[in-house]
Assembly symmetry: C2
Homo-oligomer: 336 residues x 2
């Protein structure tokens, strides 16, 4: 276990001051008018001995940790897992690291996590906010710490935000079902005030309205068990004799599919929000509204980095288009 080499060791070895070394290492040689000869000498020596600055000391002094906090709903959900992977590799290139936690939509946990990350002085946040987190986010803003929300936002709070066009996605999906000839089209959502859910619901309703169709809506408790969800979905679909269903999340769609298997009823035409490996493989394969995951991740990072560099003032809201991926589960209805 060899001792870590310090900036003072370098200074001593070269017979110069610590300050000079620090300036050179922080690319301030020019600005501070350090001679090129000395600059080179220091850089060479640093390389030779493989000096690595102590990030903790650096952070303590500068107040910047180069760590970003990622607060998401659930890292084991492929939608979030994929975003996390993309975010992680993006920021990595910029010298930032990610420290993350899943909230499972629990406000108290979310609050605690954010406080914790704040105490650890992360430089910025990317958050999928749960219901009721508005105050906490506001506090972060007031503390002047950059926050970018994604997937959902707070209508009454000016924040940076990146998300998909949920209204359009749901609208297009519903329209597609209408065009295919379906007459009893249901919509499955959650008991939640989150904006993405509201927008999807609005998109569905608008399309149904345009097509002069009666709407059927079923909400599921956010903390419902898989069993409970399956039960209520079975009833919803069967009792209303639906011939098509739009599911507002991928896991609700999966619960629906499980239900149809468990209770042996025929799943009507269906569309799911958010793609998933399973949807491509099923027989029939499932039509989905797919969010532009890559673009979402890229924009999240871009906005956050610009904020960190103080390059933007006004809040930015990015709404990215969804893509309707038409598969077998929504083929044209054969009129009976």
């Amino acid at each position: 276990m060899k001792k870590r080499i310090l900036i003072s060791d370098i200074a001593k070895a070269l017979g110069i001051s610590v300050t000079t070394v620090s300036f050179i290492l922080n690319d301030k040689a020019k600005e501070k008018r350090i001679s090129e000869a000395l600059t080179k000498r220091v850089l060479d020596y640093v390389k030779k001995v493989g000096y690595k600055p102590n990030e903790l000391a650096k952070s303590l002094r500068t107040g910047k940790t180069k760590i970003l906090g990622l607060i998401i709903e659930d890292i084991s959900n492929p939608f979030f897992g994929n975003i996390a992977r993309l975010i992680e590799s993006k920021v990595y290139e910029q010298g930032y690291r990610i420290i993350y936690c899943s909230t499972n939509n629990d406000v108290d946990k979310a609050r605690e996590l954010i406080q914790m990350f704040y105490d650890r002085q992360v430089d910025g946040f990317i958050i999928t906010p749960s219901d009721g987190l508005e105050d906490t986010v506001k506090q972060l803003q007031q503390s002047n710490i950059p926050v970018v929300l994604f997937d959902r936002y707070f209508p009454n709070l000016e924040t940076d935000y990146v998300g998909a066009d949920n209204f359009q996605g749901a609208f297009d999906a519903t329209n597609h079902l209408c065009q295919q000839g379906y007459k009893r089209i249901g919509f499955v959502s959650l008991y939640s005030d989150q904006t993405q859910m509201k927008e999807r619901s609005d998109g569905y309703l608008k399309a149904m309205d345009n097509n002069k169709q009666q709407s059927f809506i079923q909400k599921v408790q956010m903390d419902a068990s898989d069993e409970e969800a399956m039960d209520s979905l079975k009833d919803f679909i069967c009792e209303n004799r639906l011939d098509a269903v739009l599911f507002s999340t991928n896991y609700l769609a999966i619960s629906g599919l499980k239900a149809s298997k468990k209770y042996s009823f025929a799943m009507p035409a269906m569309i799911a929000f958010d793609d998933h490996t399973v949807f491509k493989l099923l027989e029939p394969s499932i039509t989905v509204v797919s969010q532009p995951i890559k673009e979402i991740a890229e924009n999240l990072i871009n906005i956050l980095l610009l904020r960190l560099q103080g390059k933007i003032k006004a809040t930015r809201k990015m709404v990215l288009p969804c893509e309707l991926k038409i598969r077998e589960s929504t083929k044209a209805k054969v009129n009976v």
Copy 2:
């Protein structure tokens, strides 16, 4: 933006020294014989003003960051995503945080990541090592920093390790196929020296041997595209007229299923290693060898925490049993 309150502010306000406050805050009041009266006075005041220590300063002084590095293959793979979620919530209770990165099985990236985390002075590592990472892990050990490997290990390096009983899992799966009457049972694996692959392969071979059956093995390049994997799997299954296949990972199984869909050949009886949402939903549902994810996560954390507390000396290797979840894809063969 109110100024952060410091330990020195507390000392000043109460007319005592910084040292005393620090002792009390670190539960050393007894040991350092601080009077109970004073202890209470300090604790009350701290609570009242809501003092939170600066973790950076603490870390700088103690050399401990209370951050653990998690290096996994791919956070977007549900198997790893689930483990990550469990690990995260476990360590969270103990006051530790996780900083993670995916390697995508790239040694160079893994090495760089570990170096980075090391520079940031994480207290310990949990790593799914890619091929060729042996040296790096050895270096960490020599630097006296705790490392626990999982999913795979290095036969020639004494390390803490937690993983599933891959041999037994593959053995049981293969035996099950034999008992169901299948005669041409193939095994799909990766070109990789990783131990978990070797063990699964050995389990398959041993069972085939016991049952006096001819073995069929196909390896896929680790960096093969989905298309390439699908092509080679199609050829493997069709040209050998296999009536059953054991896939050594969930994503290989998924590639196989995609291939059967794309090229319209009937998928023979099959078993996948590692469960996945998709396997329960397919028609027929897929029999799997399921790893005890929860136990793996718990043991990883337990061992790492014990190491961090210096409570264990000898390396621990935990091998946990897999469970064969029999579903519809391996029903008894009807002899033609």
